[in-house]
Structure formats: structure tokens, C-alpha cells
Subunit: 284 residues, 2 copies
């Protein structure tokens, strides 16, 4: 089974795909998040996987926008324990490092660690694993990368420091994308539903929108606001709620919600994700 | 009057400071947003100015985090009409451009325009005006920068394309920061209040928090959620509401709110911002 992820070998997206689908998965690396959506739409991959929020750095807003721009459904989620390593070419010592390459999100997740080295320049790259490949391919002796232990193993590199994330409980939530909505609940995990809407321009609109769930004792897990493009300061709301959209209370709440929204879309119902600690392995 | 902003001459933060305080202002450029807060705390500047959200790219989350990490107050706001220019060294033509430097937010705001040039590499820099200075200082003939018309004038550069932002109504909201809360309402503009809180772990907590305002017909302008650091997926909520915190309804609502929050802080009451179209001028 082919699953598209952004980045390259050793990227956290690949690790999350292996944890979610198991070792039988065939991860398909693509350069941009938009390409993950395209790969699923064009049926080059059965599923796509994208990060949507990190417990420290917050939401990945570009991916919220892509959920709306594309027509895929959320079919699942997984919480990945994300641990960062400071990685360099073999023989390089920590004192010779002048630059550190990594994804901006990873740099944020290691902000406290990086403050110890005010004279080291941090350089953003499109993916954590790409940073490792860059310093390996160019044989850089004065640069390091921040990435997963898997990227270190895959590129035969040296570890200068391990578990350098600020938060010892650092987690990233990944969404599984599919071309069609998931079937009704089958497993034993509780279900979640994700929707997006914008409210009519009426007083207390957001409060009224949330009341349709509160009235039915449906818990909300997350609310995220994003600007409506081209509309000045108007907002779209992404909501994660308890239960599946087929259930009676949820169906009624969503019907009720649509009386006060000017835009509404269902993004999917799916089993609530488990927390996975990635296993690292030597491969090839 | 000294006002600290992040970036350098011609940055949008400087333009916003001039529009808010008038020509008498003495803008103080600092390298990072955290330095804007520091400059006000150490009384090197009377005020600071930071962007907080853009009508297309959304919220600047790092600045929300800094509001919480520091002890300053929001004393005002201004909405700046932000127009982007493609800027190069004199004599350089559009066809010779291979790289474009700009701030990641500006690159997002010009995403549609940039799609026309799939073979041009975009390179993030810490501020739009820094990108202009970089291509000027190195005399780059194959690179351009995206920045304000003011940066183009200040660095004596050439315009390759004007108003290239995707949204013809592109706006950025800036906050004015001060060491102490603003005094009670004086001018004629309506007032706004910004607060931040996290809810107790009880069902319908966010709904209950919003209800304290809805019950008193207090309009909400914006809600923004950010993860609580070190806490997995728990959230802080930043709320902008109508009116000033001294008014009776607001005071009661906030007192009521604190019964259901585990954390609460007032960020400030201030006059709602006007929309300003920056004036450009030749200086020196």
C-alpha cells in the first residue's frame, strides 16, 4: 500500500506512516505538502499523511488551508512522539559547528536548546531529513542538522546530541488523507469528526455555533481559526468534535449548525489517534 | 518618541509606526520580535509595534507566544494596507531573476503571483527590507526581493512589478505595546479588549467561556488557540472582545470567566484600529 508523505527518507511523516499502517506500507516521498494531496487525488497513492499540529509549535496552518483547497477526506490520525537529534558528518565535533539546518518547526521545538549557542546560525530547510542529506552530500564540516534518529541511521551520520526538543513530551499529530470518507466505525477506538465552517455575520455567531454541540453534550477537542481569503478579517473555523457524523446527536448538531453558517464542509469521521513511539531500524 | 520595530528601514513595522504615531516618531529597528518587547521593558523605547495577523497568511503565532512570555500591555492597534513590490538592482530585467528573497509571510501573500515562475527559487529572510538590502549590498544581478515601495525608495532600487499581493485588500494588523495599561477611553473610537486564558478540564469548557460574553451581548472579534507548552494537546485561547475592561458588562463577564478558567491574563484595552494606507516618501 502506497502512502504519500512530504520530505524524504527518515522524515517524521514517513515514521508516522509506518506506525499507522505497519511495515507493509510503501512510503512515497513528495517535495511539497500540496503534492501529498495531488498524489492521492491522482491515485498514485492510496493514502496521504500530513502533520497538522505540534504540541509546542502549534498548528501547521498551510495544511489547514490545503484541506479546504482540496477535496480529500480525513480517514485517520496518529500522534507521533517526536524526538530531535543534532546530527553531523562522522568526525565532526560540536565545537566546529557554525550553522544548523532544519525545518522551521523543528527549530521552534528545540528553541531552548538552541539558545545555548547564540553564535550558531540556524538555516531553514523544507524538511528535517533534507537538512541531513544536505550536510552529508556537501560533506560540510562546520554544519549540523536537527532531524530524527532514523534520518541519522539512514544517512550513516553521527549524533552530537540526542533528545534536544524543549518539551520531553513533544508530539506531532498527523492526519491520514483518503479520496473518500471512511466507512462507519468498525474498530474499538472512540471516533472523532472534523468540520470547517464560517459563520453568518450575526452577533454571537461563534457562541451559537458552539452551542449546537454543547446542547447535545458533544465534546469539542480543538478549534482553529483561519482567515477567509480575500475577505479582510473574516474567519473560517476548523472544529474537531467527539463522535462520528453518522451518529444521531452529531447529525442533528451539524444540521442545526448549518442554520447559522454561511459555509460548511465535512472533513471526515475517523478513529481517535493513539500515541506512537517510533521504532528506529537499520534498513537497505 | 522612540518606537521599536523588528527589521530595518522600510519594513512594514516602521510604516505602521509612522501611520500610528505620525511623522514625529523615531523608529528604532531591532533584529528580532523578542527584542521589540525587551526594548520597551528596558525603556529604550516608549512603545513597541508588532504584526499580529495578516488577512491572508493568518496569525503570527510566535508573537502571540511573546505576548504571554512578556509582561507588556496592548495600548493600541492599526490595520496597515500592505502592498508588495518585486524589487531588483537598477539595470536588472525580470527575465534574469533566478531567486527571490523575502519574509515567509510576504511569500505566502504573493503565492499566486509566484506560481507564474515555477523555476524561480524563493529564499526566506528575516524581514522584507533585509531582502532588499541583501541584493543591493551584494549587487546581485540574478535575484530580486519582495518588499514595500518604501524599501525600494530607501535603497534606490528598481521596481520590476508592483502590487503583486494575491489579495487586492491585503492587510496586516499591528499591535502597539506599552509598559503599562492604557488609561480609560479618551478618544471617539470604539474600544477593544484582548485577554488570554486556558479553561479547566470540564465538558463544554470553551462554550462556557464564550457564554459569559454572549449572555451580556458583548461581541467577540477574534479567537486564537495556541498549545500550552509542555502540556501535550491543551490549548490557550486569545480572545479579542468589544468594549473596555473597565466597563460594567465587561468587568462582570471577565469575573464570571475566571470561575471556569485555570489561567487568565488581561492583555489590554485599547481603541479599535483604523485602516491606514501608508504614504511613501523620499528621505535622507
Amino acid at each position: 500500500m502506497v502512502v504519500a508523505f512530504q520530505g524524504e527518507r527518515g522524515a517524521f511523516g514517513e515514521l508516522a506512516a509506518v506506525e499507522y499502517f505497519g511495515r507493509k506500507v510503501r512510503p512515497l516521498p513528495v517535495p511539497e505538502f500540496a503534492d501529498v494531496f495531488k498524489a492521492v487525488e491522482k491515485q498514485k497513492a492510496a493514502y496521504g499523511i500530513i502533520p497538522i499540529e505540534n504540541s509546542q509549535a502549534g498548528s501547521i496552518h498551510h495544511n489547514y488551508d490545503l484541506l479546504l483547497e482540496n477535496r480529500l477526506f480525513i480517514a485517520g490520525e496518529i500522534l507521533l512522539r517526536v524526538s530531535h537529534y543534532l546530527i553531523a558528518n562522522p568526525g565532526v565535533s560540536r565545537r566546529s559547528i557554525r550553522r544548523i539546518y532544519s525545518h522551521p518547526q523543528a527549530l521552534v521545538q528545540c528553541r531552548r536548546y538552541l539558545r545555548r549557542f547564540p553564535n550558531i546560525e540556524t538555516i531553514p530547510v523544507s524538511n528535517t531529513a533534507s537538512g541531513v542529506r544536505l550536510i552529508r552530500d556537501h560533506g560540510l564540516r562546520d554544519a549540523a542538522a536537527i532531524a530524527s534518529m532514523q534520518a541519522m541511521i539512514d544517512y550513516d551520520m553521527k549524533c552530537l546530541a540526542k533528545r534536544i526538543e524543549d518539551n520531553p513530551n513533544n508530539m506531532t499529530r498527523f492526519l491520514i488523507l483518503a479520496g473518500r470518507p471512511a466507512r462507519k466505525k468498525s474498530g474499538r477506538r472512540p471516533m472523532k469528526t472534523s468540520i470547517v465552517f464560517s459563520t453568518k455575520d450575526i452577533p454571537g455567531a461563534l457562541f451559537k455555533a458552539l452551542s449546537v454541540f454543547a446542547l447535545r453534550d458533544i465534546n469539542l477537542f480543538k478549534i482553529e481559526s483561519r482567515p477567509v481569503h480575500g475577505k479582510g478579517f473574516e474567519y473560517l473555523f476548523y472544529l474537531d468534535l467527539e463522535g462520528e457524523s453518522y451518529a444521531e446527536a452529531q447529525r442533528n448538531a451539524i444540521q442545526h449548525l448549518q442554520e447559522i453558517t454561511s459555509f460548511y464542509r465535512m472533513l471526515g469521521s475517523y478513529p481517535a489517534g493513539r500515541l506512537a513511539h517510533p521504532e528506529y531500524r537499520r534498513r537497505r
